[in-house]
Amino acid sequence: MIIDVLYFAWLRERIGVNREQITTSAKTVTELIEELAAIDEGHALAFADLKSLRVALDQQMARFDSSLANTREVAFFPPMTGG
């Protein structure tokens, strides 16, 4: 399955791109994170502290144990600071 992975804020800066296409057989967000963290040092650093990480699946907030079935777009970012 091919998934668009998006990064925002300091995750984007650590990884160096704001978007990448990943071919994966990960079933959950946690499995996808394990694959992404293995790509290179920037990815490893970005995914080092999961407590300060949030995830959205197809633009809806999700959890690390959420299933990736039928997901086309996964976004990772730090806690939001809008308003």
Binding site: Q59, A75, P78, T81, G83
Partner: protein
């Protein structure tokens, strides 16, 4: 109800006046405006990143929820992204209702959710570099009151 996620500046006076003119029948209007703080030259500006698409979807859901919970006759959310100078308006919320308690509660509800659940990330541009604004625990805690 109107939502605008935009890069350009907005005119707080004109937006407030237009909202009030359109709120026929309402007795109470509350607005909230967030400004880039100007801490005596320590902040040179702010850069706001967002998640196009999800931003609009998340805020629309919040506005629907606010209208369902409170007896709103109208609501407006404007939120900017991009680079802002000190003292510029970052965003505004306006709510209209028959009674002041609903207008106040809906504006606070929308603000609490915008702070922690709308995909925006602020970076302060200071004299010594750029710093991502940290999410505050009190902002996350504020959601528990709703």
């Amino acid at each position: 109800m109107r939502l605008s996620v935009q890069e350009s500046a907005f005119d707080l006076g004109a937006e407030t006046k237009a909202f009030a003119n359109g709120a026929a029948g309402a007795g109470a209007i509350v607005t909230f405006t967030g400004l880039v703080r100007d801490n005596s030259g320590q902040v040179l500006g702010m850069e706001i990143e967002h998640y196009p698409g999800m931003t609009e979807r998340a805020i629309s859901d919040m506005m629907d929820e606010a209208q369902a919970r409170f007896a709103l006759t109208d609501a407006l959310v404007i939120h900017r992204f991009g680079v802002l100078a000190p003292a510029e308006a970052i965003m505004m919320v306006a709510t209209a209702a028959s009674h002041r308690s609903d207008a106040f509660a809906a504006a606070e509800f929308l603000m609490d959710y915008l702070k922690s659940r709308a995909p925006f990330w602020k970076k302060e541009l200071g004299p010594d570099g750029q710093t991502w604004v940290k999410a505050k625990e009190e902002d996350e805690a504020a959601l528990t009151r709703w």
